[in-house]
């Protein structure tokens, strides 16, 4: 669908409104496997953008390139006005980008509160000595961090488990803790890799509400990988569809729903699967 593609992709350098995220001609392969092949698209500030596609289509690879965990073979990533051939992961948080992982990536031994407060690590100023001695600046910083984290716990209804080790929580709750950790720094851009996988319908509905609230209340731009087509259609402003590492469509939910290529490659199959069991 080159027509849809060029419509969506306003070159980030030339565009009047800078994109929250843009990728330009990204390619990535592992040995003989092509994970991403010449992918270009842009996400406008404040947009909720879904990325869908069958397993192995390259969705996670795309987020990994955007967060610098993978280095693309070719292409560039634009984040907040900067362009990178390889995104520096160490600076990601400072660039206002945070993410969650497809597999849980919590700090299992830390309490829920500490997990969430850790999301503010990149802002810490106080040195080790100041922290151990308990200098006022260090104490203030720490108290502010915990206060922020408590707000997020309340926002995501996690206050009841704030002191529990994160590793002991049920799966759906751990997913929510990870979202809280990603949101606590009020990122400009939030990347979510299958945040609803393994959740019940009610949990999915709740989380959709939280994601929308994050956008509406905090102005966060969101890129979301999700398999549940129903959720995706209801939640996202635009949808990008990957198949075998290629971007086969990029448009509004209505455009995607009626796109014969997408139906062929993904939706037809996915709907069947959805009917069987929520993926």
């Amino acid at each position: 669908m080159p027509a849809v593609l060029s419509e969506a992709f306003v070159s980030p350098a030339a565009g009047t409104v800078p994109s929250a995220l843009a990728v330009e001609a990204l390619s990535l392969s592992f040995g003989g496997v092509t994970a991403l092949s010449d992918i270009s698209f842009a996400v406008a500030p404040g947009e909720i953008r879904a990325v869908i596609g069958p397993n192995g289509a390259g969705k996670s690879s795309l987020l990994n390139v955007v967060s610098g965990l993978y280095q693309p073979d070719r292409g560039r990533v634009w984040l907040g006005g900067h362009s990178f051939a390889a995104v520096p992961t160490d600076r990601l948080a400072k660039l206002g980008v945070s993410r969650t992982f497809q597999n849980l990536a919590l700090f299992k031994g830390l309490s829920v509160l500490d997990n969430v407060a850790a999301g503010l690590s990149h802002r810490l100023r106080a040195g080790l000595f100041a922290q151990v001695i308990g200098l006022p600046a260090a104490r203030r910083e720490r108290a502010e961090g915990y206060a922020r984290a408590e707000e997020l716990l309340a926002f995501l209804h996690l206050d009841g488990v704030r002191d529990r080790p994160a590793g002991t929580l049920p799966y759906g709750m751990q997913k929510r803790v990870e979202l809280a950790r990603a949101l606590v720094a009020r990122p400009r851009l939030l990347l979510l890799d299958e945040p609803m996988a393994g959740m019940t319908l009610t949990e999915k509905r709740d989380l959709s509400g939280h994601i929308r609230a994050a956008r509406d209340d905090l102005g966060t731009t969101i890129v979301l990988i999700e398999h549940d087509v129903g959720v995706v259609m209801g939640l996202s402003d635009r949808i990008a569809v990957l198949d075998y590492g290629r971007l086969i469509a990029d448009g509004t939910p209505d455009q995607i729903r009626n796109d014969p290529v997408v139906i062929d490659a993904y939706l037809g199959v996915a709907h069947d699967l959805e009917a069987g069991e929520g993926i």
């Binding site: 992961t89 160490d90 700090f107 690590s121 990149h122 009841g160």
Partner: protein, 355 residues
């Protein structure tokens, strides 16, 4: 429904905070106020002082292995660095107060630890463990080879000057115990502050998920090296206590691979990432051989000679470690927690029924 159940346990936690504080208070009163008056020289010299030094070493290794998740098999090398540094500082800079010597010795150990921590930036798990063995063998070799460190003593064994702090002689058994106790109390307090601080949380974050830690902006390399430096500092200070308060001599053989394993076992048996664990593990490691030899003598009499004792120590200790790894990976600390909870529930249940 699950939420409710969770809330209940969460709410139960603060209940225990004050008993814990009371417990620590009671321990400190016994350690500072009671033991110095009632303990025998044997208790000081053979049990309490080595217990304190080993507990401190366990505390240091726990920062690195328990909290930051970096395995090390070279702990006693850093004890040796601390001990030799303090010996040479005391010998060559006689005007400097001994407490300053300890601090400097810890810093020297930290610097050496930092150096041997550099491979951790590339290696992990088994490979890192092997590279820390290099520290163990290299350091021991240097202290054996370079006579300067032991002031060219022909036997390689040097006797340390008697302990005194601010003109106060502490050369009695009780004095050396109190000195060790003071140092251990101060360092433990600092370590507690450290593990409760954002930096302490970063150590655990690094251990539990390095990639996620990097993504949220934890300076992973810096924190890793910091863990090596702080851990080696503490183990170095433990080495000073071992040499100056316990043995009163320094020799390379005392800081061999066996000792490194002993410290690792303290951490495993006591409980990874637990401050109490280091003390519990050290207590077990110190008391257990004595109990075993008493028991052996009682049962077997003359047959139970030192050879049999050593052999049975190794066997029983090995079994203990395997048992702990399988049955209670969180160590004695967790075991005691559970017993305590059970006792507490039993007591409060009784109260409710009768009152």
């Amino acid at each position: 429904m699950t939420d409710l159940a969770l809330e209940k346990t969460a709410a139960a936690a603060p209940h225990r905070a004050s008993p814990a504080l009371l417990g620590i208070g009671a321990l400190l009163i016994v350690a500072y106020g009671v033991l110095p008056l009632v303990a025998s020289e044997y208790l000081f010299d053979a049990i309490l002082t080595p217990f304190l030094a080993l507990a401190l070493a366990g505390l240091g290794l726990n920062i690195l292995t328990g909290y930051a998740g970096q395995v090390s098999l070279g702990s006693s090398a850093f004890m040796a660095v601390g001990a030799y540094a303090a010996y040479n500082l005391a010998l060559r800079l006689p005007g400097v107060p001994f407490l300053v010597d300890i601090l400097l010795a810890g810093l020297v150990a930290a610097a050496v630890g930092l150096l041997f921590g550099l491979p951790s930036l590339r290696l992990r798990g088994f490979y890192l463990a092997v590279s820390t063995l290099a520290a163990q063998f290299f350091v021991q070799w240097v202290f054996n080879k370079v006579g300067w460190f032991s002031n060219n003593s022909p036997s390689g064994i040097v006797t340390v000057p008697p302990l005194s702090v601010a003109g106060l002689p502490l050369d009695s058994s009780a004095g050396r115990y109190l000195f060790a106790l003071g140092v251990v109390t101060a360092v433990t307090l600092a370590v507690w502050r450290l593990v409760e601080s954002p930096t302490g949380r970063a150590l655990v974050a690094l251990r539990d998920h390095e990639t996620a830690a990097r993504v949220i902006g934890i300076p992973v390399l810096r924190v890793k090296l910091l863990a090596f430096a702080v851990s080696s500092f503490i183990i170095g200070v433990a080495g000073v206590l071992w040499a100056f308060a316990y043995l009163r001599t320094v020799e390379p053989a005392g800081f061999n691979l066996d000792r490194s394993f002993q410290i690792l076992f303290i951490v495993i048996i006591g409980g990874l990432a637990s401050l109490r664990g280091a003390f519990l593990g050290a207590a077990l490691i110190v008391v257990f051989p004595l109990l075993l030899s008493r028991l052996g003598e009682a049962l077997l009499g003359g047959l139970f000679d030192s050879g049999v004792l050593e052999m049975s120590q190794r066997i029983v200790l090995g079994l203990l470690i395997v048992t702990f790894l399988i049955a209670e990976p969180a160590g004695l600390a967790a075991l005691l927690d559970r017993l305590w909870n059970r006792a507490w529930n039993w007591i409060s249940g009784r109260f409710r029924r009768t009152g």
